[in-house]
């Protein structure tokens, strides 16, 4: 499948950018004419990944979150990358209800949400180097 369109966005790791990021990605994805439900799935997954970069990657400090989107015929691939702390144990981070920051009242459901709402979720992370989450959502509503 060839790339039909792509975009690249850099935002500061501020929590007020979470809403901005998910709206931008959803707006870009809407070119493929997905259903409202599919768009909401994408928005929620992006919100989780960006929140993850802000809370766990940069631990509330300043940093840059890079968002990349690729549109193909009937799918969107989204990459969300930080250059922060990295995830020590990816397997553990993916477990439902696991949180490394229970004191922040985190539900530990971030990766579960991403995996539920997207068709594919890949995590690459290295300690002190950062984390990249790549997700794919297929839009079944696209009849190409």
């Amino acid at each position: 499948m060839s790339t039909n369109n792509r975009m690249h966005l850099e935002i500061m790791s501020k929590s007020q950018n979470e809403a901005f990021a998910r709206v931008v990605v959803a707006s870009f994805a809407s070119q493929l004419d997905p259903t409202i439900e599919e768009l909401a799935d994408v928005k929620t997954a992006v919100s989780e990944a960006v929140t993850n970069a802000i809370i766990h990657g940069y631990e509330g400090g300043d940093g840059i979150v890079i968002i990349e989107c690729i549109l193909r015929d009937d799918e969107i691939e989204i990459g969300i990358k930080d250059q922060g702390a990295g995830i020590e144990d990816i397997q553990k981070a993916r477990e439902p209800l696991y949180t490394s920051k229970p004191e922040l009242e985190r539900s530990g459901m971030g990766f579960t949400v991403m995996e539920t709402f997207m068709d594919e979720v890949k995590i690459q992370s290295q300690k002190n180097m950062g984390t990249e989450i790549r997700m794919i959502k297929k839009f079944r509503s696209c009849d190409h």
Partner: protein, 111 residues
């Protein structure tokens, strides 16, 4: 994100409107906890009618408030769930700890 409160007996009806994410969660959490602390509340009822967006940060807020009222011998409930928020509740297993009702009258009657 907006939150408004109504107290009926020892029930705190918490109406959330807008988008509940990590950014808005902290303020909402503080405001609800202040209500619980200053009024004689036992049960909390979340009214989700105008909730447009919720992610796992919102799940954290609900679980946290559930734990609070549980310590007071109370329960947590949710009313006016739209399909989107219902999906998040189902996925995260929130219905195991939070009861779902159609409206506040039904919730108050059955809690």
């Amino acid at each position: 994100m907006q939150v408004t409160f109504e107290t009926i007996g020892n029930h705190l009806i918490t109406k959330l409107s807008g988008e509940l994410d990590h950014h808005t969660a902290e303020e909402i959490r503080e405001r609800i906890d202040k209500e619980i602390a200053t009024k004689s509340i036992k049960n909390i009822i979340f009214d989700m009618k105008d909730m447009n967006f919720m992610d796992s940060s919102g799940i954290g807020v609900v679980i946290g408030r559930y734990k609070k009222v549980q310590k007071l011998g109370g329960q947590a409930a949710v009313i006016h769930l739209n399909s989107r928020v219902e999906k998040i509740f189902k996925m995260s297993g929130l219905f195991h700890i939070v009861k779902k009702f159609k409206n506040k009258n039904e919730a108050i009657e059955r809690l």
